[in-house]
Amino acid sequence: MMTVNELQKLSRNVRAETLRAITEAGSGHPGGSLSATDILITLYWNVMRHDPRNPGWPDRDRFILSKGHAAPALYTVLAEQGYFPKDQLHHLREHNSMLQGHPDATRTPGIEVSSGSLGNGLSVASGIALALKLDGKSSRVYCLLGDGECDEGLVWEAAMFATHKRLDNLIAIVDRNGLQIDGPTEKVCGLEPITEKWRAFNWNVICVNGHDYNQLIDAFLEAKKVAGKPTVIIAETIKGKGVSFMENVVGFHGKPTTPQELEVALKELEAD
């Protein structure tokens, strides 16, 4: 467990390393990586039961990155945690690298299931949660979705199934940064009212500021107490969070920062 101050300090470092890796790779998805960073840090440092030296530990909590394009942020977090050497971050998206453009469970320690084709994570997470229940295990399954990803019908197939099976060991987080590739989510294909949608599917819904560590920690604590239904945390976030010229800019969804932009970004992250 880390203090909020420590988490905030760490988050600046993770954001910097994430951008460095994307810039070096020359392609990737910085916007959604930065919006998800604080959620990932909260989970890996203060919420989940896991052991980087033993990624297959049967009693671990599981994390599934359904919005696979935020892989660089997850890789940085996993490297910081010690799942693999930090040096690997320099090889993001390289030919045959351990760190593929999108999460690959067959190559990267700490990745439970491959993702990249949107909409699958919550459904797979539900299957894992079901298996854990069958085995009488107390582990939980955490699944991070993008808000644009909620356009996928499969997300709602899983949402229906998870409540039907009373999967209270399943906790979804929606990274509600409001932007997808073609523009604001509400202009592309409106998701609102998104909290009411999840409530209508009979989920326990918690809304938080996805960059406020106190709120995130409290939300996960509350989710752990809920019995009989799954919880979804709608985390209001800012795409590109932490770097002023990237914040709320649609273009940084899938465009890497240039070396010059990286320099400016790093100055800002280090100055905070």
Binding site: T106, V113, S114, N120, S123, V124, S126, G127, L130, L154
Partner: protein, 313 residues
């Protein structure tokens, strides 16, 4: 000759296997009565999950169960399973090499009266192109159980294509072995290569040919992937001409696979009989559809004679 549907054999096998192996779980998408997973559901309700009419969820739930250490069997009709959930099969089940057996009922001409939406003529092509996927079409109800035994033992992703109707249990001069094509009848003039329900049809065609003095070999390629290239070359070498017969599109299925192998390894005239580039349509009789696509034994005799002629030219 005793008759039994391959899907019935599947339901029975699940109950038997589920008794011994407690890790076996079954997922269905609102078709448990038709796919026969209902038998498992009744025997072990705590290990059976019905996701409703949601095939993408069907496959991903099975994937999650497999990641959680279970041996998952996911079932639906052949088209819905492969067509509606292709992304989940490609990106999760096969990519991550999970212990998921996709067992489809209503392959080929099983869904004749339902028409184009249900007639699965593309499923083998859809599955064959996916890395790590093994594709098997049991010849009858007996072989179905052997295939399922092998899939459970082997582990990893499988697509097993079954059928609705009662069919004869064939006399087989071999013990089923995954990946090994088997000779049902020896012959030296032409080789029929088929799988599933079409093997019986080709045996009938071979019998008709015998009356006309033509010695036709019949090969059962139950495992379409990984395909037994050696057996195909051996048959081509022995007969000099090959006819593939399938209840599937002539594109991308068994015919395509055989042509790929022989064109590179031992080119001989190959004639592919199956569904041309069209949709199926409703019919009250399977025979009417089979006839439309030249898949009746007497029509196969004509095809055989044509390909033998080609060999001579």
């Amino acid at each position: 000759m005793s008759m039994k549907a391959t899907r019935d054999a599947y339901g029975e096998w699940l109950v038997e296997a589920g008794k011994i192996n407690k890790d076996i779980v079954v997922v269905d998408a609102d078709l448990a009565e038709s796919t026969k997973t209902i038998l498992f559901a009744k025997a072990y309700p705590e290990r059976f999950f019905d996701v409703g009419t949601a095939e993408q969820n069907l496959v991903d739930i099975a994937a999650g169960l497999a990641i959680g250490g279970k041996r998952a069997f996911a079932s639906s009709f052949a088209y819905f399973l492969t067509g509606r959930a292709w992304d989940q099969i490609r990106n999760i089940v096969a990519h991550d090499n999970l212990n998921v057996c996709l067992v489809a009922s209503h392959g080929g001409f099983s869904a004749t009266s339902d028409g184009a939406s249900h007639l699965a003529f593309q499923d083998i092509a859809l599955m064959r192109v996916i890395p790590n996927m093994r594709v098997v079409i049991p010849v009858d109800a007996e072989e179905t159980k052997s295939v399922l035994d092998a899939a459970l033992k082997e582990g990893g992703p499988f697509y097993i294509r079954l059928r609705r109707d009662k069919e004869p249990i064939l006399q087989k001069p071999y013990q089923f072995k995954l990946g090994k094509a088997e000779t049902m009848k020896d012959g030296s003039d032409v080789a029929f290569v088929s799988s599933g329900a079409m093997v019986d049809t080709t045996l009938r065609a071979a019998a008709l040919l015998k009356d006309r003095g033509v010695d036709a070999r019949v090969l059962n390629v139950h495992t379409v992937k990984p395909i037994d290239g050696d057996a195909l070359v051996l048959a081509a070498r022995a007969t000099g001409s090959v006819i593939t017969v399938e209840d599937h599109s002539v594109y991308g299925g068994l015919g395509g696979a055989v042509a790929e192998i022989l064109s590179e390894s031992y080119p001989v005239p190959v004639h592919r009989v199956g569904v041309p580039d069209v949709y199926g349509s409703s019919s009250r009789s399977v025979d009417a559809l089979l006839k439309e696509f030249n898949l009746m034994p007497d029509q196969l005799v004509e095809s055989a004679e044509r390909v033998i002629q080609k060999k001579r030219n």
